[in-house]
Amino acid sequence: MKKTFYSILGIAVVVLIFIANVASASACVWGHYQPEVPATLRK
């Protein structure tokens, strides 16, 4: 049970890092509010 929970957390991290990279690669996601892009993702 604990192993499954940690696997889900791992998958969530991978998905979130992918989303962060896609969002920071675009000029704007689509909405009219832009969260601050972290310094490590600024290009």
Binding site: A20, C28, P35
Partner: protein, 222 residues
């Protein structure tokens, strides 16, 4: 002592940062990843919420299909060309929920009129779209600056490609409009969205969003 400092750090951040810090700790990731995960969570949450609320309003107004086309066009166009932003997620949510169903509603109204109105809207959108990209795109923000000149050039080039794809789509819909009654509505939806996103590239739009932010700030101060 260390646990206490970590607990304090978790309590100090906003909700996204707290969740991100928990994910970082549970997965034994470097601390620098916290900001990245918090950014992804905020982006995902705000955009999903905006999308769902916009679709709900569109469904209630009976313009769900048109609104989806408007959102699709806006996502593709803003992805490469950028545009003006609000500094408040609440203004953004209210604007998104209002603007896209309104564009779809207006498109349904225009498409029901003489065919020349739809064609005129499409032609204006294409011309203004190309002009706005040439003059302003890509438009970045303080929160997401475009640092690299190569990236800036690439985004401008992709913006032209996106508008050219829209032009092809608008021409195809024009050809289909004689046999498919929804084609004209979809064409005008795309045209009005191109006009809206093109307007968002201009300094006037940046001024308008900033004015709305200031209005909200002054109300909060009272």
């Amino acid at each position: 002592m260390k646990g206490g400092a970590q607990g304090e750090e978790i309590m100090q951040g906003n909700l996204y940062q707290r969740w991100a810090l928990l994910l970082v700790e549970k997965n034994h990731l470097p601390r620098e990843k916290t900001a990245v995960l918090a950014y992804a969570m905020e982006t995902l949450f705000i955009n999903t919420l905006n999308l769902l609320l916009t679709m709900l309003i569109a469904y209630l107004l009976g313009v769900l299909g048109g609104t989806l086309i408007c959102i699709l066009v806006a996502v593709s166009y803003r992805h490469t060309a950028g545009g003006a932003h609000s500094s408040s997620p609440w203004i953004c949510a209210a604007a998104t929920m209002t603007i896209f169903p309104s564009l779809a509603y207006a498109a349904t109204f225009i498409a029901a009129g003489p065919g020349v109105c739809g064609r005129l809207a499409a032609l204006t959108a294409v011309l203004l779209g190309v002009y706005s990209i040439h003059r302003y795109a890509p438009v970045d923000s303080v929160q997401a600056p475009i640092i690299s000149p190569e990236r800036r050039k690439r985004l401008k080039k992709y913006s032209y490609v996106v508008v050219m794809v829209f032009v092809v789509g608008i021409i195809l819909l024009e050809a289909l409009s004689a046999s498919w009654h929804l084609a004209r509505i979809l064409q005008v939806c795309a045209a009005l969205t191109i006009l809206w996103v093109s307007f968002n590239l201009t300094p006037t739009a940046a001024y308008l969003w900033s004015w709305m932010d200031n209005q909200l700030d002054s109300k909060n101060r009272r």
